[in-house]
């Protein structure tokens, strides 16, 4: 942990924005599966998980806008910011590719998010604590869903095993970024508002390693790791995601249905 400096309202707004952007962007990715999943039942399952995340994103972005005090609504934050203004981790913006890649991303991220929300339930910031307490039950199910599929694909047929292992390889370079605690997070954690993600790694490793072992999968050892999402640095695919997500709102400002 770095030396904690006094935190401001603006820091809390940034922190809420980070959490909200993670949820929003992954919701958008999961929504792409609707009508494209292997079965109708899985369309609904992934759609439900996406909607849970969208609900979390709405609360967090609305709170970020409120604390920021510049009059920006959740819609303004979701639809009118550009790529460099988004603070999500790169892992949530990664393309769905095949079902195994999506499941690998979900297992990795849900396990992380569950650990984080479990801590944030006890945040000294009452709004963040309340949102986390509601979300933790949702994310528990997301992790279970991803776990069940990882076990079945990993310990399934030769083809499903190959795809699942390949999915893990595709996602693993983006794992390390989840556990980087920067100065802002350290300062907010010192105030009891935030939770230091660096401290979540051990229990994350314990859960994920157990699932991979049972699924007869090997934990990848990537030769490089991603970083920069929290500073607004994103991967090439992200602009296309934003174009699709923001198009309607930007073309028809204030549109409702």
């Amino acid at each position: 942990m770095s030396a904690a400096s006094p935190t401001t309202e603006s820091d809390v707004a940034t922190y809420a924005l980070r959490l909200g952007d993670d949820a929003l962007i992954l919701a958008q990715r999961l929504g792409e599966w609707i009508a494209a999943a292997p079965q109708l039942e899985e369309d609904v399952a992934l759609g439900n998980i996406g909607l849970d995340l969208l609900g979390q994103a709405r609360l967090l972005l609305a709170y970020a806008g409120e604390v920021e005090g510049a009059g920006r609504s959740e819609d303004d934050l979701a639809f009118l910011r550009d790529e460099r203004d988004f603070r999500n981790l790169q892992i949530v913006e990664r393309p769905n590719e095949d079902f195994a890649v999506t499941i690998a991303r979900q297992l990795v991220f849900s396990t992380y998010q569950l650990g984080l929300y479990a801590r944030l339930q006890h945040s000294t910031d009452a709004t963040i604590a309340g949102i986390a307490a509601k979300a933790v039950k949702e994310v528990d199910y997301h992790r279970d869903h991803a776990t069940q599929w990882t076990l079945r694909l990993g310990d399934g047929t030769d083809e499903s095993h190959r795809r699942m292992q390949s999915g893990l390889e595709r996602i693993w370079p983006y794992v390390a970024e989840m556990f980087v605690t920067d100065d802002l997070e350290a300062a907010l954690a010192a105030d009891g508002v935030a939770a230091e993600v660096a401290g979540l790694r051990a229990s994350w490793d314990g859960y994920v390693d157990a699932v991979l072992a049972e699924a007869t999968l090997e934990r990848p050892a990537p030769s490089w790791t991603a970083e920069g999402g929290r500073r607004g640095v994103h991967t090439e695919c992200f602009g296309y995601l934003l174009a699709e997500m923001q198009h309607l709102h930007r073309s028809h400002p204030g549109a409702t249905w």
């Binding site: 079965q39 039942e41 899985e42 609904v44 399952a45 279970d144 069940q148 079945r152 083809e159």
Partner: protein
């Protein structure tokens, strides 16, 4: 009931033939081959599980999760049962007359011949 019946509950439609039609009652490598499960949901404690529909899933644990997502996302239930559709033995439409008609003219089996006290509800 005919123990050799090839009629089963499929998709909540009562009895339909399962022979030579693609109902996916055997697990295979393609998702199209996922078996069918009948779903029963209990709305609250004290009530019975009621049949709400069916779905496809690769195994029982996933069937339970799919049922949660498909049938209880609007707080419809507190308990779910999933049953392999192949495990349900259904009465045959051909036997309809023998099975059900004899009850048609026995009105005395209905509780319509007593005065029910005003205090008795839900009867």
């Amino acid at each position: 009931m005919n123990p050799g019946s090839d009629l089963q509950a499929e998709g909540g439609h009562g009895a339909v033939p399962t022979r030579d039609v693609p109902t996916g009652t055997e697990a295979g490598s393609s998702p199209r081959d996922w078996p069918l499960w009948e779903v029963f949901v209990r709305a609250k404690r004290g009530l019975s599980h009621l049949h709400v529909g069916s779905l496809h899933a690769p195994d029982a644990a996933m069937a339970l999760r799919n049922a949660r997502d498909v049938y209880t996302r609007r707080s419809e239930g507190v308990s779910i049962w999933v049953v392999p559709a192949t495990a349900v033995v259904a009465s045959s439409p051909d036997e309809k007359d023998a099975f059900f008609d004899p009850a048609a003219d026995k009105a005395y089996r209905h509780p319509t011949f007593y005065d029910i006290p005003d205090e008795v509800q839900h009867l």
